[in-house]
Symmetry: D3
Subunit: 314 residues, 6 copies
């Protein structure tokens, strides 16, 4: 199999199909336009420069285009950069799809779907079970395809579902160690906590914020949806308000966007599990390409810290 983009070292030649993640046109000091492209495959992305770009080139290599690129990786101020030598748009004979170049969750949509379904199936409280199943069915497709965020963690295809499955498995272990936890409530809270993202974000790929996402946010969106679901299903028990509270408070603090702090044990634990899974994902991805004895790049959402990879093994 071919070496992927991020497996190349400085000085190596690249010849790959890549997706244009973004494209900016500049005017150089000789008056001629040039293109700054961010090119990606599923291993990551790199900045690339196309000098003396013609107007037709500027139009050809826009965001979302698949291109075949030959060039060389060099080091620019400590970051890797790709100097383009040859570039062309892909054509049907190349047999490359956007999906081949996007990062994806390490498990398939089917696996995600069947794991979540199993967790719902095992619930004992019918009110919690019915609301959860109802909303998952309503948003089944985007739930399996959307990322969990536009950046920072799980920002890839099926990231949302993968994040939920990881949290469910972690929650199951936690609930075994601390048996006072209400498993149905905790699992339902996990399944629903970020489901509002399917309305907050514009799509599964290159997601941006919708108007509703900007003005209300995924927390308020899904809390409203839980209310509507309960009404449609004719459910009036305290489970409705408590489930809404779990979702409402899952950012943990007011200044992080939850209008209420957790006031129920399972809400507090949901917040902690969300936090732990997101951090594990960020750390694993940041350290993936770091060699033992070196530091990662600074990770902005982790207080801009660099992390060290020790030289010893256990």
């Amino acid at each position: 199999m071919l070496k992927e983009l991020m497996e190349h070292e400085v000085g190596e030649q690249v010849d790959l199909f890549l997706l244009v993640k973004s494209a900016f046109r500049g005017v150089a000091s000789n008056g001629k336009p040039f293109l700054t492209l961010i090119l990606q495959d599923r291993s990551g992305d790199i900045e690339a420069k196309l000098w003396d770009a013609s107007d037709s080139e500027v139009k050809a290599y826009q965001q979302g285009t698949i291109v075949r690129v030959a060039g060389e990786v060099h080091n620019y101020r400590g970051r890797m950069q790709l100097k383009i030598k040859k570039i062309r748009r892909s054509n049907p004979q190349d047999n490359i799809n956007v999906g081949d170049l996007l990062e994806k969750a390490p498990i398939s949509k089917d696996e995600i779907s069947s794991k979540v379904t199993q967790y719902i199936f095992e619930m004992k409280n019918p009110n919690i079970q019915r609301i959860t199943r109802h909303l998952l069915r309503k948003y089944h497709e985007p739930f399996l395809e959307y990322p969990a965020a536009t950046k920072n963690h799980h920002e890839f295809v099926s990231g949302l579902g993968y994040h939920v499955v990881s949290m469910l498995d972690l929650a199951k272990s936690v609930a075994e160690l601390y048996p006072s936890l209400d498993r149905d409530l905790l699992f339902a809270g996990i399944i629903l906590h970020d489901l509002g993202k399917v309305i907050e974000l514009s799509g599964a790929v290159a997601a941006s914020y919708t108007i509703e996402g900007n003005l209300l946010g995924h927390i308020t969106i899904i809390v409203n949806e839980i209310g509507k679901a309960a009404e449609e299903l004719g459910i009036h028990g305290e489970e409705v308000v408590v489930l809404q509270h779990l979702v409402l408070s899952h950012h943990g603090k007011l200044e992080w966007g939850s209008p209420k702090q957790p006031m129920i044990k399972e809400a507090e634990i949901l917040f902690l599990i969300d936090n732990m899974d997101a951090k594990m994902n960020m750390l694993d991805r940041a350290l993936k390409h770091v060699k033992p004895g070196e530091f990662s790049e600074k990770i902005f959402p982790l207080d801009n810290r660099s992390f060290y990879k020790p030289t010893f093994h256990s």
Copy 2:
């Protein structure tokens, strides 16, 4: 007319019907129980001590009871305290109702109702008008009776409606000076912004927080209600999300309980008008009994500041 409770000075005799706002039982050093009562009429409240209280007295003077009290006001560590000399429960012949002893808004429920109705009547955008009218009708009674808060500002009978009317009048003046403002949107936001309090709080008198109020809060409650109202009325325009945003963001900052900051001009202005009316109410009440040349007590929600009343007049 009789002097009201807070019009008495230190050293004066009191003989009034008063409402027991709260009651605590203590055991004194001689082993006998005593009662600490907070007694109020519509002018305010005072701490009172009933020494050597018998068990029947402890039972008789509980929260919510109307009593006739004779005693003397004295000064205890800088605060006024009432030393009870005689006390008895009121009886039907006294012809005193709880309503006579509660602080009320300075305008009647009818005035509030007709002013708000007029503002709704003049709206031109039918979507905004219909949602606002629908929700006001649904919660008409409690809207006219509830306080705007349990403490700090407008914490009296009809405080909610009175606060809304004051804000509407202020908003009308502001909109005349800054004509780019969307009046319908601003007025609707004002009418709805605190309406969730009729579910968040337990009642019009001696209000505490309901379970739903604690776990969701009045902002989330009314945002959900706007969504349901739009669905019931078959309204799908952008007005729904924008109106929800106005209510959602009216606390101005995440750390003050809004999960989104204002992102629409009228949302920002709604927040500022709410703030100004609440502060005017706090300041007027805090300075009411202060003499020229003296400072008020510290006002906790105003950063614990004391305010000075100048000696000159204009």
Copy 3:
């Protein structure tokens, strides 16, 4: 009438007299100098590039020069940029003055002057009236010409006077709704609150901070001036200290540059009115060129928020 600078869209040709707001010289990779100019008319400003600039061109197009420019607007990384095709300095025959290219308050200096004079005329407290009139006369000319700030809000010719007039009108409405306010004190506080800027800033156009402005700030400057005015006028009443306090505390919080928080009701209201008028000005200007259904650029002094312009109308 000609289209103004900011009314041009990407791709359109520009041929206008413009003012050089600032000019930077760079050396391009071919070793030749180029100029980055910020060019403005009263509708706003734009970045422009002049490639291969000769030494005489570098000298000709310095800050404060009026130039005639032909070029084309294009989009550079999401911001508009002007590519200069032809440029020359204006000459007397062009009959263009700097004043024609600067943004100005929407009302004239005469209107500002007569409105403020009327507010002073109606004051009833002679001490407040005399101090206010004395200081306004002393700094009459710069008061009518200076901006209210170097950036963020009212940063245009006559911005200071216009800001004061808007605040006075707003204060008048507020005082009608809350009659306990001392109108003379509030109006005098508004007229004087930013008057120190005529010493803090270097002039009416392209203002920078003076040494005194940097080391003392406009608040301390005008508080000192009030003290001197009172002494010259032989006024000794409490009005002097109270008026100084209003000005001193009008930034509202210590960390925003007021050495005392407001401790007088009118001081608190002055702070709130200042805030509301400044925000209205920022919002109206930021949203002026935004189309319905789109977001404004981020507004730094409003917590770096973008504001949305709804698609519906009332």
Copy 4:
């Protein structure tokens, strides 16, 4: 078996052996001294009053004394209080030991010891294993007896060892779900992270801070100990510094007492696991005596929040 102290309701008679947790002498208004005692058994503690206490009684009932008390539970301002009717010191015939009246971990010292030993036994990295085993042997006795803190969480006999065992079990589950974690490092960090408390605190019961504890703190103490252990064992690998870093950074943030934030993945996860186990312990204890449909008391270290116990079950 007898009802324990905290199982009594208001109005019930108490007749129990209790430990004097603290004792304060007051002088009542009749000039006679009285005693305020905090009395405890393993179920919790209660405030009690002994009126008209003689000098010999004041001396008899000091902190650490076991007493037999008869009295009645009543409600004082919302908290339970014990009115003492009869009290005497315990004597040898009563056959009561301090240990019988102290709260203990729910698992025995032997279980703690064997579980921790097993985790150490399974380590594969010899440097990590040897340092951990060395320090655990050195402080074996106090490790099994000390509390994990003087208040807030695990503040009971064997609390330290119990906290470590809970964290180890949780870490094991986490490491199974996220296999990139270095288990030896994580487990060693958990075993050592709070071991400095055996020097920071004065003892297993009624612990206070030692001089060394106050001036250096348990983090610095154990980091020094790891350094010394490595030197004594002749270990020089990177494991020493990395292990010191895990302990050093386990409070997560500088303002929480760690002079470095976590910069190694296992350090970050150690911090999160510590946090989760501490919060579960606080929540379970706070909610233990709360009835469904009610709120707990405010929990200070959890931002002073009250937690609600739902009425439904799963």
Copy 5:
């Protein structure tokens, strides 16, 4: 010589003339009033209780009265308290003055005066010298008598002058080590920095805040005075603004009451020297009665820290 108040240990008898620093009337559970007095001599103060106080006693022992008291020191909840056995007002024959019972600076007013005068005498810059001398002469008497604060540090008779002299001596040493410092400017800044306190505070003894002190604060007051002094002396050099800046910025940060941060080297150093002298004073006084091997009480303005006195000597 007699033992002073604070030299008494728990259990000892006291028989001293003391000053009533404050007096509160309480009503005990037997219905009789009692007095809580804070009594002081120059060594410090203590809380005392007078039970069953008659109305004439309540009137007799008010704030500012000198009394002769016999009683016993006992320990109440860890603090020393005085139980009064006998008390009477002092009479002329006792020959005791308030001044005998107040804490004073360790050096006399004459020494303070001559030291400060010497520092002014040695100044070389005539503008700085004349302004400083002018203001010191204007407020000579209160400068020598006032405290430097109402609490926290130098809160005793002549505390202001003593604080200034200590700072001058420290500044002299600093200026010798860092010769780039402008000595005249630094010394003048020190002499004037707190001089506004003679207007901010009500007097030398039992000082409270004046209206002007509350509304403007000592910083603004003295900055105004410097401006007036310069005007009266006909001084127009940059020294005036720079000296005002030093005083204005000497609290170091906006949130500590300086409307500008230091922007001149000597201003920054003045802030640091003020800080160091205040802290030394607080620490020396807090540790004065602490025994080696023990901790002081918590010192509120030092982040509520306790300080340890080591057991060893050098």
Copy 6:
């Protein structure tokens, strides 16, 4: 003597030996590489551009190389920049050493060494003296050569020793004015407080952080060293813990990297003296090249303030 680098004004010709502090390779818009060099001598550093750099030039002018450069200083966006006309590597005949081009402390290593030795010699407490002498001997060489920091203050050769000597002299003056201070403890704390930097940093020149420095930090490193020294010397007195506390707490606050705040008087004073000496160093260096009547550049560690140099002299 030749003019040094920073003594050149814009427009002047430069012909000097300079050290390459750092070097970045860029690719210009004509496709050719260029070099951005930071060049320094002992007077400071400047950015320089070498256009059309060949591959051999890129290799020749790397960090740490000494070069001879001819060029011209010009102004680029308000900062000075050097346009390189001629450049070559230095050769042995040039007789230039790296040491000639590095900034150094104004006193020699010998002076530093003898001053510190004298302070240790005069200590009276043998435990403190022996630990201090032991550690100074152990790290004698790097102590005399290392900088005190990598940036902000004393970031030059022998900066660490020079900073310590300045602090010792300041501490001596302070101790004379406040005789209650324990001089041995304070002096020892000063000598040791930053000694951990000889392990935290990689070397005396172009220092970066070591792994141990990153993961533990200089505070923890030297606290461990004090513990080891005491053990090796067989010292067990309280001096060990107290000395460790002084070093541990010398950053003053938890959020600045001290895991404990100062709890001993000398610890607090050590923190203040460290702060004062660091700020004096920053201010003197920032103001060195500023002309009277102008402001310095913004100084990041001083809250990003600019400092003004007055026009008058004393």
